[in-house]
């Protein structure tokens, strides 16, 4: 469990925005929290997985992918803003992510 500071929040936002701008070859300025990952950026699940791996390494997270998968079934992500919120929850709760709903 890592408390989410403003520094982490900003880092996550910056990484996610840069990642999609780079991967999807779009202008960074064209991305905002309402940008649809699939419809606007043509993103896919491999990008989602890659971002998870980036954050796992950066914050040394102890989390199984299937925990994230189970959470994502109940809380599907469609926009960049929702993705950032989920990444922050993953960083904060790690393998206890599913306990949020209990």
């Amino acid at each position: 469990m890592a408390p989410i500071t403003d520094k982490i929040r900003n880092e996550v936002k910056e990484i996610v925005y840069s990642f999609f701008a780079d991967e999807c070859e779009v202008d960074l300025a064209s991305i905002n929290s309402n940008t649809s990952i699939i419809n606007d950026l043509d993103g896919d699940s491999l990008m989602f997985l890659e971002l998870i791996e980036i954050f796992k390494k950066k914050y040394q997270l102890d989390i199984e992918l299937k925990v994230i998968g189970k959470y994502a079934v109940k809380h599907p992500v469609a926009t960049i803003g929702q993705l950032i919120d989920m990444q922050l929850l993953i960083i904060e709760h790690e393998n206890r992510l599913l306990e949020i709903d209990q």
Binding site: S45, L49, K66, G69, K70, V73
Partner: protein, 305 residues
């Protein structure tokens, strides 16, 4: 001179050619057209009707294999003509035929014949049931095996792309059910590959044996560029090994993840995906050490010198 830090890798068949490199690789369209007409003349006259715009044969599995093969052979021939000479080649799934062509083990025409014979033998051997293949991302092998065992399905894991990325083959209804169960178990993504043959599964053993009976009539030589086996990661260096691999590739499980590890172990640091796909390049992001993995439209100048 071969560059032992470079490998050409050939994707499985696809019907999506939206990113064909006609604009970014001068000469590609000409190479492709020449091979397309050669294939039409040798194997199937209808192939001449194909254009990247009309997407002919979109739902035709055999012709899709031909087009992918032609595309892949055109790309690798052009790259070689431009001075690139890989130290290794590898063919993912049905990409084996283009890998063997590129490696110099078979002629372009023999590759087409192999595709036709394999497809015919496999279809003939399958009982009436409907089959397909699927992909699962986010679960590990043990998770998937547990799901299969619990449901008493006859599904097999037939390829591993990365540590948490797998391919399964089996009867269509069971594969669909397993993909659903996998999502509930926490798979981040699942997908039906919508094919009719459960490639690389033991269901195909009889078909593979029938295919093997025809190999003696074909001219199979020693690869001039080593081709790596996706079954056991051995380097195929003689006709006997190539013929055995052609048969095993149909009904043995493959392991792309191990193959990439083996190529990295041989000192390969740069990979070019020679075909109409970005799939292997995308997958490479999850393989440590395989960052320099390029699609045809993104080969950096330094790699094409």
């Amino acid at each position: 001179m071969q560059d032992h830090h470079l490998a050409f890798v050939f994707p499985a068949f696809t019907n999506d050619y939206a990113d064909h490199p006609g604009q970014t690789m001068p000469g590609f369209d000409q190479y492709f057209s020449e091979l397309l007409f050669k294939a039409a003349s040798h194997t199937d006259q209808e192939l001449a009707q194909f254009t990247f715009e009309n997407r002919a044969f979109h739902d035709d599995e055999l012709r899709t294999q031909y087009i992918t093969y032609i595309y892949s052979c055109a790309a690798s021939s052009l790259l070689r003509n431009n001075g690139l000479s890989p130290g290794f080649t590898a063919g993912y799934s049905m990409g084996i035929y283009a890998a063997l062509f590129d490696g110099g083990a078979v002629s372009f025409e023999t590759g087409l014949t192999l595709i036709r014979l394999a497809h015919g033998s496999l279809l003939k051997s399958l009982p009436g049931a409907e089959y397909t293949m699927g992909t699962l991302i986010g679960l590990d092998r043990k998770d998937i095996e547990t799901l299969i065992d619990k449901s008493a399905f006859s599904i097999e894991i037939t390829n591993q792309n990365a540590s948490h990325s797998f391919v399964i083959s089996g009867r269509r209804a069971e594969v669909h059910q397993l993909l659903k169960l996998a999502k509930e178990e926490g798979a981040l993504n699942t997908r039906d590959l919508s094919v009719s043959i459960p490639y690389h599964s033991s269901e195909l053993k009889a078909g593979a044996m029938d295919f093997a009976d025809n190999l003696g009539k074909l001219d199979i030589g020693s690869p001039q560029t080593p081709v790596i086996s996706l079954v056991d990661q051995a380097l195929l260096t003689n006709p006997r090994m190539v013929a055995a691999e052609l048969v095993r590739n149909l009904y043995y499980p493959l392991n792309w993840f191990n193959t990439m590890q083996a190529l990295l172990g041989h000192g390969v640091s740069h990979f070019i995906e020679c075909g109409p796909s970005k799939g292997l390049a995308k997958n490479a992001r999850f393989i440590e050490g395989a960052r320099n993995f390029y699609t045809l439209n993104a080969i950096p100048p330094a790699s094409s010198d």
